[in-house]
């Protein structure tokens, strides 16, 4: 296999890791006010991803960095072309990252509510925009002979891309709900399970529709199999959530997201950014890539480091495998801004 193809696949894997892992981070973030009805329940929800959200987010940085290293032309055209959506995503991620850490630092309901809104913004916005971005990539956008995007911002909000945004939104909401059902106990677990069962049906319809649209309009023959896998996985989530088979539900939800990424990338290859202006202007795995030397170096780096990363990230999930309920939430340890008792 050509190194350019190898790296195309590796980048697809990195995006899969990111969307599967941060998919439930975003889902959980969106569900905080919905599943968590009081302060303790909300803390249960947040603490399910507390130890892992940061490590999950690094998959995005790695995907971005790998794209820069392996396909610099793709990196350049994509991030300059999708400037404003990316700006929105970045703002959302910045606010979310700070919100997780700062939320508990001051013991005040108003303070917590403000940061919860930040987590919410930081979860809703990317959930929609990632779908919009990937849908536009697969659909093709206006790229000229100099590999510059010429389409502007509003062109990115076309019906297909908006459906893509709705798809990732629902996928992540469902994924977050099944994750919560798997990681919690008591009232939160029950509520999450019930919501997951309801969401999964809507997700099946919308995501299924998006998958079929993608397949018919933009894909190749072999990706029909991927659509089938996605459909079966989504159906499996419906069945599993209705039966409260939480482990299965999560595994199948992850599989559905994986299938979505495979569908996107499988439809793209060998392009990386198709041009609607003229197919000759499309960025491909060949014309957008780095040199053979750089790809070789990066392959060694990835082959050596990725298994190690997977191992210790998996270990983290093992360490924190215990289900959390409101009984596990200790008293607030945050200070208040007023001066407390003199310590010295």
């Amino acid at each position: 296999m050509e190194l350019t193809t190898v790296w195309f696949v590796l980048i697809a894997i990195l995006w899969t890791g990111y969307l599967v892992l941060e998919g439930f981070d975003f889902g959980v973030g969106m569900l905080i006010p919905i599943i968590g009805r009081d302060d303790a329940e909300r803390r249960v929800v947040i603490n399910t991803i507390g130890p892992v959200w940061d490590g999950n987010e690094v998959w995005l940085l790695t995907a971005g960095g790998a794209t820069f290293a392996a396909f610099p032309e793709w990196y350049a055209t994509l991030f300059s072309g999708f400037y404003l959506p990316l700006l929105l995503i970045l703002v959302a991620l910045i606010v979310r990252a700070v919100a997780f850490e700062y939320r508990g630092k001051i013991n005040s309901p108003a303070w917590r509510a403000r940061w919860d809104a930040g987590i919410g913004l930081g979860s809703w916005l990317p959930s929609i925009l990632w779908g919009v971005a990937f849908a536009n990539i697969v659909r093709g956008v206006a790229i000229n002979a100099d590999a510059q995007y010429t389409g502007g911002f509003w062109a990115l909000l076309n019906p297909y891309a908006l459906l893509g945004g709705l798809t990732t939104l629902l996928l992540f909401l469902t994924h977050g709900a099944v994750f919560l059902a798997l990681k919690t106990d008591g009232t939160v677990r029950a509520r999450a399970g019930a919501l997951a069962a309801k969401l999964s049906i809507t997700t099946l319809v919308v995501a299924g529709g998006f998958a079929v649209w993608t397949q018919v309009a933009y894909s190749v023959t072999w990706t029909w199999a991927v659509v089938a896998v996605a459909a079966l996985a989504l159906l499996g989530v419906v069945v599993a959530t209705s039966r409260r088979r939480e482990g299965w539900a999560f595994a199948l939800s992850a599989l559905a997201i994986l299938a979505a990424v495979v569908l996107i990338f499988g439809s793209l290859y060998p392009d990386v950014m198709p041009s609607t202006t003229d197919p000759a202007f499309s960025l491909t795995v060949t014309n957008a890539s780095s040199t053979h030397y750089t790809l070789t170096v990066m392959t060694w780096v990835a082959v050596v480091l990725t298994p190690v990363v997977l191992a210790y990230q998996a270990w983290t999930y093992w360490v924190f495998r215990k289900r959390i309920s409101t009984a596990d939430i200790p008293a607030h340890t945050g200070l208040t801004f007023e001066r407390s008792r003199e310590r010295a």
Binding site: R43, I46, N47, G50, P51, V52, D54, G55, E57, V58, L60, L61, T62, G64, G65, F68, A69, A70, P72, E73, Y75, A76, L78, F79, S80, Y83, L86, L87, L90, L93, I94, A97, V98, F100, E101, Y102, R103, G104, K105, I106, Q148, S290, T291, Y293, T294, V301, T306, V309, Y312, Q313, V319, F320, K322, I324, I329, P330, L335, S340, E342, A344
Partner: protein, 483 residues
């Protein structure tokens, strides 16, 4: 302002801001790890209290450092796409390695550290914070490899067909002499920042405790922290100076225009003096510069070890560069910025030294002090290494202008890129202005919160710690949550 100017302002603002937070993280994580190690080894509760005290401050800082770091990964593609196309073959690799090798470690093990108290066996929990420390320091190595390549491109060839720089030797990129001096310089700076932070806060608390008639608290808890901070400051200070000297000597060879501008040395000289104060036309006119106070021969000595050695001036280097690269460009950076940021970097770095020496004196032979002025100096010293670091980066990045990839005097001429050529051509000035305003306002707001939280938690002092209730690995007890 046009797109180029706005893009430069945006990159400068976001990067300087990021690099206010990063040195504290890089330096403080190992210090917290040391505190926890001392507690692990000796069982002395003092060190657990210090670990939790400074650990809390570290986390407040770390979060904003991560948040502002995400932008960095994507900025190159967003407003500097043409730069990314030119350098991507070389520059992308260290960035990808940074994420894969360093970011994963620091983020994953930080989660384990925050949530793993009394959940992980003590030894393993201790290992997590050390791994975070390693991760942050390793990340500095890779990003500095990328930046050092911009200052002094190595291991690369030029492909005339594609018009791109192409990597030929990753080993050369990762062992760039520029990198080998920039890395210790940055790490030493980070330890200076963190050491001053620890010594400053602990020093302020020591005075407060003594004045509240709680000398035993001052002596048993805060004095050791002051001493730790001070020792780190002194070692780091020496490290910064030595590595800074090495780096400057390299820069005289690799980027002579930058150093000539740093000295406002307009005309070549044998035995060039070190200028302490120069005044001139703020419109950057070399001819209008007047050196008011200077030390004879010192710059030549610093550059070449010889008080009478020859140094090229801005005018000569400009002529040389015009012949080599074309005559339409002004190859000298902004003199005022380069000159003053260089001096402020050095001068502010000395601010910590004052605190260190005074602190050592006042705590000698088991003493503690309730001196109000020491408390004020302690707090006042904390920002100085932060500022020194910022001016250092301003110096080196503004000093390399107009280049974004500076030509290597002993390398391939075509491996060079003017900053003006690196900006994205498909992004309008209006769009960049929008993002610049958004980032500036957002960062300012978050910065206020950051400061209020750090000040509040610092003012609270080291927490009392309850003895661990259960055995090492707790399956049934309450999980120690952070959130």
């Amino acid at each position: 302002m046009n797109a180029l100017e706005l893009a430069r302002w945006q990159f400068g603002i976001t990067t300087i801001y990021h690099f206010v937070l990063v040195p504290l993280t890089i330096g403080l994580t190992p210090l917290v790890a040391i505190m926890q190690t001392v507690w692990y080894r000796t069982g002395n509760e003092t060190w657990l209290r210090l670990t939790k005290f400074f650990g809390k401050l570290l986390l407040i800082n770390f979060a904003l450092g991560v948040a502002t770091g995400i932008v960095q990964e994507f900025q190159f593609g967003m407003a500097w796409s043409e730069y990314s196309r030119f350098v991507g073959d070389v520059f992308g690799a260290p960035l990808a390695m940074e994420a894969l090798a360093a970011f994963f470690i620091e983020s994953t093990f930080l989660g384990l550290w925050i949530f793993g108290w009394e959940r992980l066996p003590k030894k393993i929990h201790l290992a997590t914070i050390w791994l975070v420390a390693i991760g942050t320091n390793l990340s500095a190595y890779f990003i500095l490899a990328a930046n050092s390549w911009m200052q002094h491109p190595v291991g690369t060839t030029y492909n005339a067909q594609t018009g791109r720089a192409e990597m030929t030797d990753i080993g050369a990129v990762l062992s760039n002499p520029t990198l080998l001096s920039a890395f210790p310089h940055t790490i030493a700076t980070s330890f200076l920042v963190a050491g001053t932070f620890v010594a400053g806060i602990a020093g302020w608390w020591m005075v407060r405790a003594v004045r509240a008639k709680n000398e035993s608290l001052a002596r048993s808890l805060y004095r050791p922290a002051v001493l730790l901070g001070v020792v780190v400051m002194l070692v780091a200070g020496i490290g910064v100076t030595l590595s800074g000297d090495t780096q400057a000597k390299l820069m005289f060879q690799q980027q002579p225009m930058k150093m000539a501008a740093a000295e406002a040395l307009c005309v070549s000289e044998d035995g060039a003096s070190f200028s302490i104060l120069a005044i001139g036309n703020l419109a950057n006119d070399c001819a209008g510069v007047r050196h008011v106070i200077s030390v004879p021969g010192l710059t030549s000595f610093l550059a070449n070890g010889d008080f009478s050695s020859h140094l090229d001036g801005v005018t000569e280097i400009q002529q040389r560069d015009e012949q080599r690269f074309g005559s339409e460009v002004n190859y000298s950076p902004n003199l005022a910025v380069t000159y003053w940021s260089f001096r402020l970097m050095i001068g502010l770095g000395a601010g910590s030294a004052a605190l260190a020496l005074l602190a050592l004196w006042l705590t000698r032979k088991g003493r503690v002090t309730g001196n109000k002025w020491f408390a004020r100096l302690a707090l006042g010293a904390i920002p100085t290494p932060f500022l020194a670091a910022s001016f250092g980066w301003l110096f080196t990045e503004m000093g390399r202008q107009p280049w974004v990839v500076a030509p290597n005097p002993t390398g391939i001429d075509e491996i060079r890129l003017l900053t003006a050529r690196g900006v994205s051509t498909s992004v309008s000035a209006g769009t960049i202005l929008t993002s610049m305003i958004v980032f500036t306002v957002l960062y300012a707001a978050l910065g206020v919160v950051w400061f209020r939280l750090i000040a509040r938690y610092a003012r609270e002092g080291a927490p009392e710690t309850a003895p661990p209730a259960t055995t090492d690995e707790s399956e049934t007890g309450p999980l120690s949550f952070a959130y």
